[in-house]
Amino acid sequence: MSVLVFVETGEGKIRKSSLEAITYAHLMGSGVTAIVLGAVAQPELESLGKYGAQKVLHVVDSKLDQPVIQAYASVITKAMQDEGADVLVLANSSLGTPVAAKVAVKANASFASNVVELPSTSSGFVVKRSIYTGKAFSFVELKNQKKVIALKKNAAEAKEVGGGAQIVPYAVALNDADFSTKIMSTEKATGDILLPEAEIVVSGGRGMKGPEHWGILLDLAKALHAATGCSKPVSDLNWRPHHEHVGQTGVKVAPQLYIAIGISGAIQHLAGVNSSKCIVVINKDPDAPFFKAADYGIVGDAFDVLPKLTAAVNAMR
């Protein structure tokens, strides 16, 4: 059995979630081929070998420098065929997940997203998925010969295993019809740590009282090299951009450390953070429901605690 891994890049770098996908495929114990679309530097491609890819298909076509979902799906489906790959593995993302779904339809593959662990193959091919927005798991059997697996963050820890990959230019005839949706422009915070991939998230709620007070929260985030998040009312009120909104109806995060400041801990907010390894809650109300879901809690005023916490972090570093 050979496994194809779709590797995403951002700002010319391999995304960390894609390295997790490579490790995942490597741990499945089969030959791993990676596919990368669009311009990316040679050393980045070569680095995939260290994580377990034996071969890297690199598709260079200026039309693919933009992440056109439909076209990516066609190219990857063709690569699965050409490589004789039975399984496609990739990381859940705004690009990866729809690409995976389309490939699954084109290739008549069984599909599962939000997969959290390696498959068990003792009786059938069974994967564990996160469902009910992190409140439960399901075990699903993927019955078709071909399978497409989209991984949730942390399904495997990206790990160097040594080895090198053969980089192979891969040319595919593109179909104009796949470019019927046009990306006119992209607005993206550059240089920042992306919230869905962050290992530490510092998140603020309505208790922060207004956008003008975010400075002290950003200071802590900076000291911790953390991404910033917020509760839904905060993005509804336009205190923070929408892509920072964490929860049931926003981004689901799974960092090592989630620090919630002035967030009450409504069940819909918790749904977005329940996969975090460690949760710290800072709230002036000792009865805030968030404390029940926390590992560490501080009852206190954010405006007093935050600067002290930032100072303590800086002192430790």
Binding site: Y132, T181, K277, Y296
Partner: protein, 244 residues
């Protein structure tokens, strides 16, 4: 313009999730079911388009057994014109997508939520688009129609993309595409008599089978730290939790 809105029938966001029958069945005891919150955004945007563009009709479709009808009636009360229920259990994304695709031909715009909040597959829109051979985009946070041209904003990690496409197309919606609508008395009255067509599922080839469910391990008790001793938190995060 003909709009099809796909709605899921899911546990209210405050529900406690439990399973019965040795972890093989969802426990509906005490659970209230709602229109999926993302689908609710899609429906709200469809109703806004209907109000703005003369001659627009809104049909809702749900793949579900008879117990989903109150949820469908609610969508009719919010302002959809008619409804289709495909009489089958919505067991996996591909099955649901193929049922929807079988009824979605002839619609200009197929809207639904970015994901259902029960199985969180997040791919039915992409699969419906693929099955129909039309574009699909998700998560769409802004959608305007001018003639046959559609201008959208799609959320991506750390930002957004402006995208244009031509009808017909499929969009998976999320906020702030529109504000949730609450049915009024007149809507609720008229919903009772709006057409709700029940059709049987076409085909039953399930290429994914759920074997069992499981709940996550319970969390330990919270450790409280005094606001006067913030440095202790940092020490504990480093040495005890090992996350720094």
């Amino acid at each position: 313009m003909k709009i099809l809105v796909c709605i899921s029938h899911v546990p209210d966001t405050t529900s406690k999730i439990n399973f019965t029958d040795n972890g093989t069945k969802f426990d509906t005891n005490g659970v209230q079911f709602i229109i999926g919150p993302y689908d609710d955004y899609a429906l709200a945007r469809a109703i806004e388009l209907k109000e703005a563009i003369a001659g627009t009709t809104v049909t809702v479709i749900n793949v579900g057994l008879a117990d989903t009808e109150p949820t469908i009636r609610k969508a009719l009360a919010i302002g959809a014109d008619d409804a289709i229920r495909v009489n089958a259990e919505p067991t996996d994304s591909f099955f649901v997508a193929s049922q929807i695709a079988a009824h979605a031909k002839g619609y200009d715009l197929v809207l639904m939520g970015r994901e259902s909040i029960d199985y969180n597959g997040g791919v039915v829109h992409a699969m419906v688009g693929e099955l129909l051979g039309i574009p699909s985009l998700s998560p769409v946070m802004k959608l305007d129609v001018e003639g046959t041209n559609v201008k959208m904003a799609r959320e991506i990690e750390g930002g957004k993309e402006s995208v244009e496409a031509i009808l017909p197309l499929v969009a998976g919606c999320q906020e702030p595409i529109a504000e949730w609508k609450i049915p009024n008395m007149r809507g609720i009255m008229s919903a009772r008599t709006k057409p709700l067509m029940v059709v049987e599922a076409s085909g039953n080839d399930k290429n994914v089978v759920t074997q069992k469910f499981e709940l996550p391990a319970a969390k330990g008790a919270v450790k409280m730290i005094s606001a006067d001793n913030v440095a202790e938190l940092v020490t504990r995060l480093k040495t005890e939790a090992k996350v720094l």
